[in-house]
């Protein structure tokens, strides 16, 4: 009897031992914009520690690397500029004209054109990063924020917070060719890797709308529900999709959770505890780790993508907003 108990116990434990904490070999750095500190924190992926803090313009929010990761672009919203930073030295090389109050942007696959949402002016500004000139300004809805570009580079999306729309912009004519309604306060948009779907998160609506790109018809709406958390606090903001087309990780703002959505069923399958006001996120290049910014708690939670468990939370500056990854040397 005792032997049976011991053997059974051993089998049960062996079957349940977690693989979390396994080594990841991604390396590189994650750069995080700290909205209220006017700084960028650089996190070493191997040590999961902040190695550098770089002073930048006022209210840094949108943050992304050039396609070869040699240049960092940063929306310094209250400086009304997109700053171009050398990531090796941390020096600001120059500012790009961006229009007023740039909040988010997206770099076109041609690595040359930045599409910038100007929150206060209801405009999407297109900037040529080589000539450093504004080549177009497109009127969009009130308080534009979310920006996405299709993988083929033909369509750019701007979502407007107050108009509650996704605006479809033709990158050749630089004109809006369609508008689609979404729920209240859209925050972030992403195309799927195959370009067939567009996903838009809505903060107040508490949903993600999935559109078929060809017909621009809504094909799914994702809702979230967490035991013990009031629905009003579940506010989807930033999200990222895995390249294997299995999962989408969604930051749920003041719910302090990240949802894991099944790409196939469009259903949330798990929730991961993170810090206060989960906002945006970035994968490492190998997609083994996901870094989620927690605005109110001033830290970044690192999630092991395979086990879908948080492994560490790292203190950064005040109100971390966006995050982006670059490979190590």
């Amino acid at each position: 009897m005792t032997r049976h108990i011991v053997v059974g116990l051993g089998l049960l434990l062996a079957a349940s031992v977690t693989s979390a904490g396994s080594a990841w070999a991604g390396g590189g750095e994650v750069w995080v914009s700290n909205e209220k500190d006017d700084t960028v924190s650089v996190i070493d992926v191997d040590t999961l520690e902040v190695t550098r803090t770089i002073e930048v313009g006022e209210r840094p929010r949108g943050i992304t690397f050039s396609n070869d990761h040699s240049i960092l672009y940063l929306c310094a919203s209250d400086s009304d500029a997109v700053q171009v930073i050398d990531p090796d030295s941390g020096k600001i090389l120059h500012n790009l004209p961006s229009g007023e109050d740039p909040e988010q942007f997206i770099l076109h696959p041609d690595n040359r054109h930045l599409y910038i949402a100007n929150e206060d002016d209801a405009i999407t500004t297109v900037v040529d990063v080589e000539t450093r000139k504004v080549i177009s300004q497109i009127d969009v809805g009130v308080e534009p924020e979310g920006m996405a570009v299709s993988p083929d580079g033909k369509i750019v999306i701007t979502t407007s917070e107050t108009t509650n729309m996704a605006h479809w912009i033709d990158t050749v004519s630089q004109k809006i060719f369609a508008n689609t309604l979404v729920d209240q306060r859209p925050r972030h948009a992403e195309f799927t890797g195959d370009g067939k779907e567009l996903w838009v998160s809505t903060e107040i609506g508490g949903t993600i709308s999935v559109f078929d790109v060809a017909s621009r018809a809504e094909k799914a709406k994702i809702r979230f529900e967490i035991t013990g958390i009031h629905p009003d606090r579940i506010q989807p903001v930033g999200f990222k999709m895995t390249d294997d087309e299995r999962y989408v990780f969604v930051a749920l703002g003041p719910a302090n959770q990240v949802a894991v959505v099944d790409r196939e069923t469009y259903q949330p399958i798990d929730y991961i505890q993170v810090g206060r006001r989960a906002w945006h996120m970035a994968f490492t290049g190998d997609q083994k780790l996901l870094f989620v910014t927690n605005g109110v708690s001033g830290d970044v939670t690192v999630i092991d993508v395979e086990s879908q468990k948080p492994v560490k939370t790292i203190k950064v500056g005040r109100f971390p907003w966006g995050a982006t990854w670059r490979p190590g040397k």
Partner: protein, 264 residues
């Protein structure tokens, strides 16, 4: 075979047989913490996600927080139940048989204590295995590292039970012990809430929690499950075990008992 070892094996065997024959005791020992985990913790799932304290490296949900506390709870109740059986043995007369052994009283008590601790550890690992099915898992090293921590915490809580049982004359008094010792000890510890949360309610409650014996047991187990060592909790546990054991040996001293009987 060495007489000491024979008596240890004999007592352990008797405790094991008693435990295995009392299926109800085994299941109630498991159901109690599982109720806390599955029902109580579910309601508070999001309650504790907002502070990071060692050994945790990130925000955790409440059910993850209370698992080490529930391990302590299993050991606390088992320690009490084990000493409760001593009171029962004394009333039923089977203790007299045990005490006819020529071996020193402290060794018999220690054997009893160790046997009870081993049983509590088996219960804890079964509980951890069931918790793993609810997706609350630790690394393999964590499960291994928890063993010595559970051994020490089990000894301390068992010795505490022995000390209490040595002062109890009748089974009926045990209900009072549950109300006035076990439950306050359980609720005034870090088993269910971290100290920082207690401090928000009252600094006095926080201090009471900080010095509770169960707190040290729970914290040693908690750190061990994350393969970390908590030296403060360790020192406290060693000291408390020695203190409670000394008290229990004195309490079960035959000369003292005889004097008490004569006085009574």
């Amino acid at each position: 075979m060495n007489a000491y070892l024979t008596s240890l094996i004999g007592i352990t065997r008797r405790e094991s047989l008693r435990f295995l024959s009392q299926k109800g005791r085994f299941f109630s020992a498991l159901v109690r913490p599982l109720l806390w985990l599955v029902i109580f913790a579910a309601g508070f799932r999001a309650a504790l996600g907002l502070s990071i304290e060692p050994p945790y490296q990130t925000y955790i949900t409440y059910e993850i927080y209370i698992v080490p506390g529930l391990c302590g709870m299993i050991q606390l109740f088992n320690g009490m139940q084990s000493s409760f059986s001593l009171v029962y043995d004394r009333e039923m007369g089977s203790m007299r048989l045990l005490l006819t052994s020529p071996l020193p009283r402290w060794w018999l008590l220690f054997s009893k204590l160790l046997a009870g601790t081993v049983i509590s550890i088996i219960q804890v690992y079964v509980f951890l295995a069931i918790a793993a099915l609810f997706d609350i898992r630790f690394s393999l090293a964590g499960y291994v590292a928890a063993f010595p921590a559970l051994l020490l915490s089990g000894l301390m809580l068992g010795a505490f039970g022995l000390l209490i049982s040595s002062r109890i004359k009748q089974l009926e008094n045990f209900a009072g012990v549950m109300n006035f010792v076990i439950f306050p000890m359980f609720f005034l510890s870090t088993a269910l809430y971290p100290l920082w949360k207690m401090a928000e309610a009252s600094p006095l409650l926080r201090d009471l929690c900080a010095y509770s014996p169960l707190t040290h047991a729970v914290e040693l187990i908690r750190f061990a499950l994350y393969t970390q060592f908590n030296p403060d909790a360790f020192v406290w546990l060693v000291a408390l075990t020695a203190l409670f054991m000394a008290g229990a040996v004195a309490g079960y001293d035959p000369e003292r008992s005889a004097i008490l009987r004569r006085a009574g």
